[in-house]
Amino acid sequence: MMNTNKSKRGLGKVGMYALLLLFLVISIFPFYWMLVGSTNTSDKMFTSPPTLLPGSEFMTNLNNLDATVGIWRVLFNSLLVSGVYVVIALAVSATSAYAFAKYDFKGKNVIFTIFILSMMIPYQATLIPLFQMMSSYNLLNTYFALIAPQLCYPFAIFLMRQNFAAFPTELMESARLDGASELKIFMKIVLPSMKPALAATSIFLFMFQWNNFMWPLVAITSQDMYTFPVALSTLNGVSFTDYGQVMVGITIATIPIMIFFLVLQRHFISGMLGSAIK
C-alpha cells in the first residue's frame, strides 16, 4: 500500500518535471534561435540539417543592419522617447494619483471614474483623430508626437493611487501641524516612501512606450525618427529579406530589456502586472 502510493507520487513528480522541462524548452528555444540567427548568415537559418550553434557573423549582420535602418539612431530615438516619456508620465501619474488618494475636492469621483472607464476604450479608437490632430499642427515625425499622446495613462494613475491610499494620513497631519506646506509634505514625506511603487510604475510605462508600435507606425514616416518596433517592422516584407540583420535587430531590442528584467525581477513583475497583485 505504502509502496504503490510512493511510486505513484514519484511518477507524478516525474510527470511534473517533464511538463516543466517541455515548457522550459518552448520558452527558451526562440531566444536561443535568435542568438544563433544573429551570429550566422541568413541562409544558415534555413538549412537541413539545421545549424544549431552560434556562428561568427554578428558584426557583419550588425553593420548590414546599420546600413539598412541606421540602428544606432533608432536605438537613440527609442531610448530618448521612452526615457522622456517615463519621467513626464510618472510625474503626471504620481501627482494626480496623490490628489485622488489623499484629498477631497469637488468632481474627484467623477473625474476618477471617467479615467477608469476610459481604460476600457481601445487605444485604436483614438488613433485616427490623433493622427489628424498631429497632422494639422505639423507635428507628425516629431518626438513630441511620439511622447505626448499617452502621458496621462489612467492605469498608471490607478496603480499609484492604490499605493498612496495606503500611506498613513496621520503622518501628513502631523507634518501639517508642524507647518509644512502641502507640496513639501508630498515631496519630502510621502514620495520617499513610494520608491517601490514608483519603480514598478516606471517599468510599466517604459515597457508600454518601448514596445509601442501602432501609433509610431502612423505618426512617423521619416527613417531618422523611427523607433525600434517601427524600424524592425520595415525590415520585413521586402522581396529579399536578410534574416541575419533582422535577428540582430530583434536581439538588440530584446537583450537589454531581458537583463534589466533579470536584475529588477520583483519590480519588473509588479510593474508589468500592475501592482494590484503582489
Binding site: T126, I128, E182, F213
Partner: protein
C-alpha cells in the same frame, strides 16, 4: 480633511488637461467621424452609412470572424495552461521554482514586434520548426502560407508570449489561498484534481475574470502580430479588426470608415467584458 483648496486641483490639472486633449477628444472625435463621410474635399454628415457599409463588407466580416477564431482558440487554452503551470509551480515539493518562474515569464518581456518577427522566421516553410518536425517524421506544415495554419501560427505565437505572464498572475493569487483549505479537503478524501476544481478555481474566480478581460481587450485589438507575422494573409485569413482599422485609416485614408470599425471594437470590448462579469458572477 482640511487643506489648501487649490492644491489638489493643481495636482490633477496636468493629468486632466492631457486626458482631455489626447484621450477624451480623440474618443469623441472618432465617434463623430464615424457618422461622417468625406466627399469633394470636405466632411459631411452621413448618418449610419458607414455602419450599413460595414454590414455588407465581406472583409470586415472576415476580420471579425478571424478575431473571434483567434480569441476562442487562444484565450481559454492559454488561461488553462497558465493555471496548470501556476499550480505545478505552487507545489511545495518542487525544486528550482524561481528558475522556472523566471524562464516562463521571459517571453513576456520581449516586444510584440520583435517576437512576431522572430516567429515569422521560425515558422517559414524551410524554417527551424519544420526542420525539427521533419527530424521526428512530421512533414512540412505550411505555417504562414495556408489560411488555417496562419491562424494557428498567430495563436501559437501569442500563447508563447502570454502564457507565462498569466501564469505569474495566477501564481500570485494561488499563494493567497490558505493551505488549510487543501488540508481539510484531503482529509475529506478529495484528490488533487478534485481539489483543483473545488478549491483552486473558485478561489481564483476574480483573478480569472481579470486575466480574461485583459486578454479579451488585447485580442480584439490584435495588430502587431498579424501585421508583422502574417501581414494579414494569406488571402485575409489573418486579417483582424485592428489591422482593418489601420488599413482603412492609413492605407486608404478613409478616416470615417476606419473610425466606424474602431467603434465596433469599442462596443465589442464593452459587451464581452460585461458578459465575462456575468459569467464569472462577480458582484464587485
Amino acid at each position: 480633511m482640511k487643506q489648501s483648496k487649490k492644491f489638489p486641483y493643481l495636482f490633477i490639472a496636468p493629468a486632466v488637461i492631457l486626458f482631455i486633449v489626447f484621450t477624451a477628444y480623440p474618443i469623441i472625435a472618432s465617434l463623430y467621424l464615424s457618422f461622417q463621410t468625406y466627399e469633394g474635399g470636405s466632411y459631411s454628415f452621413a448618418g449610419l452609412s458607414n455602419y450599413t457599409r460595414l454590414l455588407e463588407d465581406s472583409i470586415f466580416w472576415k476580420a471579425l470572424g478571424n478575431t473571434f477564431i483567434i480569441f476562442i482558440l487562444q484565450v481559454p487554452i492559454m488561461l488553462l495552461m497558465a493555471m496548470a503551470l501556476a499550480s505545478v509551480l505552487n507545489s511545495q515539493l518542487l525544486k528550482l521554482k524561481g528558475f522556472f518562474r523566471v524562464s516562463f515569464f521571459l517571453p513576456a518581456v520581449t516586444s510584440l514586434v520583435a517576437y512576431s518577427l522572430l516567429f515569422s522566421i521560425i515558422l517559414q516553410d524551410n524554417g527551424i520548426l519544420n526542420t525539427l518536425l521533419n527530424a521526428i517524421g512530421i512533414e512540412n506544415i505550411p505555417w504562414l502560407s495556408d489560411p488555417f495554419w496562419a491562424k494557428i501560427s498567430i495563436v501559437m505565437a501569442m500563447m508563447w508570449r502570454w502564457t507565462g505572464y498569466n501564469m505569474i498572475i495566477f501564481l500570485a493569487a494561488l499563494q493567497n489561498i490558505p493551505d488549510h483549505m487543501y488540508e481539510a479537503a484531503s482529509i475529506d478524501g478529495a484528490g488533487k484534481i478534485r481539489q483543483f476544481f473545488s478549491i483552486t478555481i473558485p478561489n481564483l474566480k476574480p483573478i480569472i475574470l481579470f486575466a480574461g478581460i485583459l486578454s479579451t481587450i488585447g485580442t480584439l485589438q490584435l495588430f502587431d502580430e498579424p501585421f508583422n507575422l502574417t501581414q494579414g494573409g494569406p488571402a485575409d485569413s489573418t486579417m483582424t479588426l485592428g489591422l482593418y482599422i489601420y488599413e482603412n485609416g492609413f492605407e486608404y485614408f478613409d478616416f470615417s470608415y476606419g473610425s466606424a470599425v474602431a467603434y465596433v471594437v469599442v462596443v465589442l470590448v464593452a459587451i464581452l467584458s460585461y458578459f465575462q462579469f456575468k459569467v464569472t458572477g462577480e458582484k464587485s
